[in-house]
């Protein structure tokens, strides 16, 4: 079936020990095979966020019909973060922000993130954040935290990357999505158990679940497969694969 597929979780960067290599030709080839039309990509792997966003912009420029830029900033350098946000969105034309609190070792609702989130709120920016749940380990990105954030920053639309990853995290992500229509759940995972996609769609509604792959760490074909083979309706599959993302991003495919 011809249906738009937008990959809401993709990266630019290399981590060979985990098999991650961002060769653009291999990237496009896999996207083509998997049926993915467009991929917003982010580079989150340098300490210097200017380098991150320049790397992203350069990658997007290789094939702007297929890629869109996603900004990255870190609260380690708060003064630079705001200037970089302005550059990323006003100069580089990026479409949303990715943050990764586990790198910073501060929870997403820590005061260190306030300037960044306030800026995003003022500009009604979409913010995607890595989420996970690990019992007995760090809870920097526990989906629970986004309930309060969504209440506080009413203009931000949140994307919970990985939807909490494991079952307990997924349940928390669903609860967060049920607390606010500004919270979306993204699907990529190497740990999601049987029934994950069904759980997310039933819990958050088919209109607020977004397909993602974590390319080029994970393969889009398997991650599209998680949606395609889920026990949900065809219409729900189409929405998750791309119709929801197109509406969220305000684009047509």
């Amino acid at each position: 079936m011809n249906t738009p597929v937008i990959d809401m979780h993709s990266h630019v960067g290399n981590d060979p020990s985990n098999g991650m290599v961002d060769d653009v030709d291999a990237y496009i080839k896999t996207m083509d095979t998997a049926g993915v039309d467009r991929a917003p990509v982010s580079c989150i792997f340098y300490g210097d966020v200017t380098r991150c966003n320049d790397t992203t912009a350069a990658f997007v420029a290789k094939n702007p019909d297929r890629f869109m830029g996603v900004a990255f900033v870190t609260p380690f350098y708060p003064e630079q973060a705001i200037a970089e946000l302005e550059r990323a969105f006003d100069v580089l034309g990026m479409v949303f922000l990715k943050v990764y609190p586990s790198y910073v070792r501060k929870p997403i609702d820590d005061e260190a993130y306030e300037p960044i989130l306030q800026w995003c709120n003022d500009r009604s920016i979409i913010v995607k954040c890595h989420t996970e749940y690990m019992e007995g380990s760090n809870t920097y990105t526990d989906p629970d935290r986004f309930i309060g954030l969504a209440q506080r920053y009413e203009n931000i639309r949140w994307i919970l990357a990985h939807s909490g990853n494991v079952r307990e995290g997924q349940l928390r992500a669903v609860a967060a999505a049920q607390s606010s229509r500004k919270i979306y759940l993204e699907t990529c995972s190497s740990w999601g158990d049987h029934g994950t996609i069904e759980r997310l769609v039933e819990g958050a509604g088919e209109d607020r679940v977004l397909y993602g792959s974590d390319m080029p760490l994970m393969d889009a074909r398997a991650q599209v497969g998680r949606i395609v083979t889920a026990d949900i309706s065809q219409e729900a599959k189409r929405k998750v694969l791309g119709l929801n993302a197109a509406e969220l991003l305000g684009i047509t495919v």
């Binding site: 079936m1 011809n2 249906t3 738009p4 597929v5 020990s17 985990n18 098999g19 991650m20 290599v21 291999a26 896999t30 996207m31 083509d32 095979t33 998997a34 049926g35 993915v36 039309d37 079952r167 190497s190 999601g192 158990d193 049987h194 029934g195 994950t196 996609i197 390319m215 080029p216 760490l217 994970m218 393969d219 074909r221 398997a222 991650q223 599209v224 497969g225 998680r226 395609v228 083979t229 889920a230 026990d231 065809q234 599959k237 189409r238 694969l241 495919v253």
Partner: protein, 253 residues
């Protein structure tokens, strides 16, 4: 706009090399996944004809108890092929060997870390000699074994085939070199969802030592099956990975 098969079914016979069967004591298994009937229903939905199944109780508590529980459970279900756990550090080899022969068990599984023994010649050697004598392959989960122990022990037992299960991208740095160095090593691909992972394996070890497995219900059944069908494999290679290699390993058709 990309092409996506929203009603995917495999085009070749499929024999899932890795399914856990039974309710766990330590976490919820979906109610639609913890019985033989539920597992068979999911196999049917995924277009899979058979599955090699083991008992998680045999890993978490008593291998003998778990094996008996499993055998009773799958008795009326030809599509569920039982795999027995053994613990070389405490189990009785003669009794186990007799049991396996009487019940026509074609594969065993080891869990060294879960069972707290080093996978060394002085613990497992006698068992490996027995396995070699009866052409009995064993499965071991990548997170559940020390890779150096595996390599050093199995290099001395080239007559014993083993399957490395649940290999994650985090294991890439040792799993592929190990498989390249040991021609008696196979890989079950349930968690091998890294970018271009299938192509990497084909290049590294060829198609004959790759097995489709799902790790159901810890993972959904069909996404990797979908990915295999999008990897440009010829029909013979696809059929081999989806079932033929496992059938050959188990000595059944």
């Amino acid at each position: 706009m990309g092409q996506v098969d929203l009603e995917f079914k495999p085009t070749v016979p499929v024999f899932d090399a890795n399914v856990a069967l039974g309710r766990r004591h330590d976490r919820i298994v979906s109610a639609d996944a913890d019985t033989p009937e539920a597992t068979l229903a999911e196999l049917a939905r995924a277009g899979i004809q058979r599955a090699l199944v083991y008992s998680p109780h045999a890993i978490d508590f008593d291998s003998n108890d778990g094996n008996n529980l499993l055998f009773e459970t799958v008795q009326r279900h030809d599509a569920l092929v039982p795999q027995f756990l053994c613990n070389p550090s405490v189990d009785d080899l003669d009794k186990f060997a007799a049991d396996v022969a009487e019940r026509d068990i074609r594969a065993v599984r080891l869990a060294p870390k879960a069972h707290d023994y080093p996978f060394r010649e002085w613990v497992a050697g006698e068992w490996l000699e027995w396995m070699g004598s009866v052409n009995m392959p064993f499965w071991v989960s990548a997170p559940d074994i020390d890779p150096s122990e595996l390599r050093e022990t199995m290099v001395a037992h080239p007559e014993v085939n083993f399957v490395l299960a649940e290999v994650h991208y985090g294991h890439l740095s040792w799993a592929v070199p190990l498989l390249k160095s040991l021609p008696n090593g196979y890989i079950e691909i349930s968690r091998f969802v890294l970018f271009n992972g299938i192509a990497r394996l084909l290049e590294a070890i060829g198609s004959e030592r790759i097995l489709f497995g799902s790790a159901f219900p810890e993972s959904p059944m069909a996404p990797q099956l979908y990915s295999l069908h999008l990897n440009g494999l010829d029909d013979d290679t696809l059929a081999a990975i989806c079932s033929g290699n496992l059938e050959r390993l188990l000595g059944i058709q």
